[in-house]
Each structure stands twice: as structure tokens, then as C-alpha cells.
Amino acid sequence: MLLELRDISVNYGKISAIRNISIGVPEGQIVTIIGGNGAGKTTTLRAMSGMLPLQGGEIYFDGKRVDGMAPHKIVAHGIAHVPEGRRIFPDMTVEENLRTGAFLRKDKDKIEADLEDVFNRFPRLRERRRQRAQTMSGGEQQMLAIGRALMSDPRVLLMDEPSMGLAPVIVEEIAVIIEEINQRGLSVVLVEQNAVLALELANYAYVLETGNMALEGPASELHDNEHVRAAYLGL
């Protein structure tokens, strides 16, 4: 496993948000975590990138234990996080946002090549490179958030509801991008309420319900699961 959560629990104050969650992300695969509002998806993702302390359990990345590390240290290991709500830097230009994603890198030539790569992948970002990020549409901001995460040259990309609030055509576009990114060898952890999209993209899926792991299995199997069909796919 490239990234492995063993039995982790997270509390907010005294309130338990997730309990005994174990998740494995094999190299080169797309793993999805689905679940309804408040199930604990964002909490799980934030624990992976060091933004929340664990109440219990361990997190391993590439064999090294990473729980307890500060978020900026975890990025250095190769875990990039596209946060819920995009969280781009509103007053910085598109290009500044992207270059900030490469903050820790020293390989100048490769940074320029990767920037070019992001611009090729998202032509609209190139057109708007000198524009303040705040002035862009929701879909463009999501692409910027993904591009910014890619600029850290990560090995695994954590994505928190990239489809949220976007028109169906844009969601389709983002889905294609996630597949392309993955085909280049990047592992992806995709958190989604849009279970149809998530199960279509992922190799393996976990279902969170009120902080507990309810189900897990290959995405195709979960797609045919009675409970998943009724509760998440509306079938």
C-alpha cells in the first residue's frame, strides 16, 4: 500500500467524528470514500494531510509513519490535498496560485515544465494566468485547485468533493481529468457525495456512515450492492 490508514479515530473536542477507520490506497489506483453529509469524509481526508490530530490509530505513507507530522511536512512527502471548497488564494493571480503549489520544490526546470503541463491540461488557466483567482468561475477555480496540487509533484492526490456545486458538463470534464491524472501513475483518493461519479472512476470504494466504516469493496461490486444502490445511487 502506498498510503495506509490503520484504525484511525478523530474527535472534535469531546465529540467523536470518525472511529476505527482503516483505508488502503495501492500505488496507481483510484480509491473513493463515499457517504452522506456529516459522515466523516472530510475529517478522514484532513487527518491524512495532518490537519487534524488522531485520537487513535496510525497513518503510513510509503512505509513511513506520517501521523503527527505538521501538514507542511506531509506535503513534502508527496501527499497533495485539494480541499473541500477549493480554497484557492483569492487575491493572487492564477499563475501565482500554481507556483505556490510548488513552494517546496527546488527543481526549477521541472517546475516550469510542470507549469506548462498544467496549462496544457487546463487551457483556460493559461488564458487567465494573470487574472486574480477570485474572479474565476467555480469550475475554473476547481481546475486551479487541482492544478495547484499537481504543482507539488505529488504521488497521491487527495480530492474532497471536486464535483461540488458544478454544472454536469464541468463535472464530466473533471472526471476525465481525474482519469488522465491517474493514468499518468498518480494515486487518487476521491471523496464524493456524487456516488455515481465516484464508483464509475474508482477501483476500490469505502462507504462511511456517521463516522463508521459501513462497507468496502471493489467499486464495481459496491455498484451492485443493494444497500449502496438504495442509499447512494437512488436506484
Binding site: M51, P71, H72, E96, T100, Q134
Partner: protein
């Protein structure tokens, strides 16, 4: 009449230059730390006393003393970050209260070290640049203007063109998202505190030979700085500089043509009008640095 207008404008440019240094530091600290630093006026005061101690009492060359003021007060900023703001990171109100406590400590230390009397220190230079019969500017003031201009330009370059400058702006706009890019928010907080405090200290050091120095001089400095950053739009560095210019011109002209008390009242009135008409400040939107 032209002479008087030109002369008053020169005086206003001088005032604008050191007010900008103070206000920009305050905005930078607010942007990155999320804390309103009430001790900012006392950091200015501390800078003045560094010049008293080194230049006036120990004959250290003036610009060396000014550099020492920048560094010493910058270090005071680091101390505040480590001892007060870091433990109170998620508590902006606590940070504000702690900064008021620090203000009192600095005042008390100034009284202990130098007494309550006013200090007047020997002029750096008596030279005056004379443009016309009634239009002139003391070279000591030119030093302040030029240094402020250089330092503000350097800050602008740092924030817009360097990797750590971007990191600083990113942390000001969204600290959590900044951490996710590998930026250490503790490190950017330290940089912001050093620059923000250091600029206030430098303003105090530069103007020390031109003003009267006492342990309570910080009051009027912080009031001016608050007016300026509210007029400029609390999060905006450019706004702080532009508002410093506006404020300095209004204040200097009212002082010259009417009197100083009326100038202070006008300054406050200017702030109230801005708050009523455009609460985000003349130059700011709702954004931060």
C-alpha cells in the same frame, strides 16, 4: 500662497513616509497573524529609544543606530510571536489582549531604562535643501522620506516577486490552504512579525532626532495608524500606503491653516466618514493582504 502650499506639501510627504512604515507593518501583522497589534505604537517608541541609547548616548553613527532599531524591534516582534501570538493562534481576541499587556511592559521598561522625561537628541544634520525663498526641507526629513520609500519598495518586491513573499500572502489569505502547499505557517508568522515590528521600529528610529521622545509617545502613533488602516481598508497594504498619504496631507494642511487639535479631529472625522460611506475602506475590498 504657492510657497505655503508647496511647503505644506513637503511637510505632508514627510509625515506620510513614516506613517506608511508604521501602518504597513500593522496591516502585515493583521493579515498574517489575524491579530490587531495594539503594541505597535510602543514598537515605534522602542525604535526611538534604540537611537537614544546608541546614537545620542554612545555616539554610534546615526544610520547604524537606525539599522539596529530595525533589527532590535524586529526581534521584539519575534518575541511577541513566540511568547504571545503562537500560543494564542486560534484566539484573535486573546492575541489583542496580550498585545495590550506587552504595550504596558514596553512602556514600563522605557520608564525604568530612561525615565519619564522627554528626550531631545542631537540633530543628525542641520542641512536644509532650499528650493525657493520659502520652500525648503531639512535633510534629516529627506533621510526619512528616502528610507521609507526604499523600504516600502523592497517590501513590495519581496511580497510580489519572491517565493517567501508569495508564501506570506498565501498565509494571509488562507493559512490552512497555505499549509497544504507546504508552507510553514509558523515560519510566515515569524517573517511577518519581524518585518511588521521592524518597520515600526525603523520609523521610530528614523524620526527620533525630529520628534520628542518619551515612554508614552506610542499612543498618538497607534491612533494615527488605526485611522490610516481603517481609511485604507484593513487588509490592504497598498491601501495603507495610499491612506497614509491622504491622512498626512489632510492632517498637515489642517494643522498649518487652522491648528493641530482641529487636525486630529479632522482625522477622526475622516475615518468615521469612510466607515459610514465605504466600510471596507477607500482602497480596500473585503480582501486581505
Amino acid at each position: 500662497m504657492f510657497e505655503l502650499l508647496a511647503q505644506t506639501s513637503l511637510n505632508a510627504i514627510y509625515a506620510a513616509s513614516y506613517i506608511s512604515l508604521v501602518a504597513v507593518g500593522l496591516v502585515l501583522i493583521f493579515g498574517v497573524m489575524g491579530v490587531i497589534n495594539f503594541a505597535h505604537g510602543e514598537l515605534f517608541m522602542a525604535g526611538s529609544y534604540v537611537v537614544v541609547a546608541l546614537y545620542a548616548d554612545r555616539m554610534v553613527p546615526f544610520f547604524v543606530a537606525v539599522a539596529a532599531g530595525l533589527i532590535f524591534v524586529g526581534l521584539l516582534g519575534l518575541l511577541m510571536e513566540r511568547a504571545l501570538f503562537r500560543p494564542l493562534r486560534d484566539n484573535p481576541l486573546g492575541g489583542l489582549v496580550a498585545s495590550i499587556g506587552f504595550l504596558m511592559v514596553l512602556q514600563a521598561l522605557a520608564v525604568l531604562g530612561f525615565g519619564v522625561r522627554m528626550e531631545h537628541i542631537p540633530p543628525v544634520t542641520q542641512d536644509v535643501i532650499r528650493f525657493a525663498d520659502k520652500i525648503s526641507i531639512p535633510v534629516a526629513r529627506v533621510y526619512v522620506i528616502v528610507t521609507a520609500f526604499v523600504m516600502l519598495s523592497a517590501l513590495w518586491y519581496f511580497l510580489k516577486r519572491t517565493r517567501f513573499g508569495w508564501a506570506l500572502r498565501a498565509s494571509a489569505q488562507d493559512p490552512e490552504a497555505a499549509a497544504l502547499q507546504g508552507i510553514s505557517v509558523t515560519q510566515t508568522a515569524m517573517i511577518a512579525m519581524f518585518i511588521g515590528a521592524g518597520f515600526a521600529g525603523m520609523a521610530g528610529a528614523l524620526t527620533a532626532p525630529l520628534i520628542s521622545i518619551n515612554p508614552h509617545m506610542g499612543h498618538s502613533v497607534i491612533i494615527t495608524a488605526f485611522i490610516v488602516i481603517i481609511v485604507g481598508g484593513v487588509g490592504s497594504l497598498e491601501g495603507a500606503v495610499l491612506a497614509s498619504v491622504v491622512y498626512a496631507f489632510v492632517h498637515t494642511f489642517v494643522t498649518t491653516f487652522f491648528d493641530g487639535v482641529l487636525a486630529d479631529i479632522t482625522g477622526l472625522a475622516l475615518m468615521l466618514i469612510v466607515l459610514i460611506v465605504k466600510p471596507t475602506g477607500l482602497f480596500g475590498s473585503a480582501d486581505r493582504a
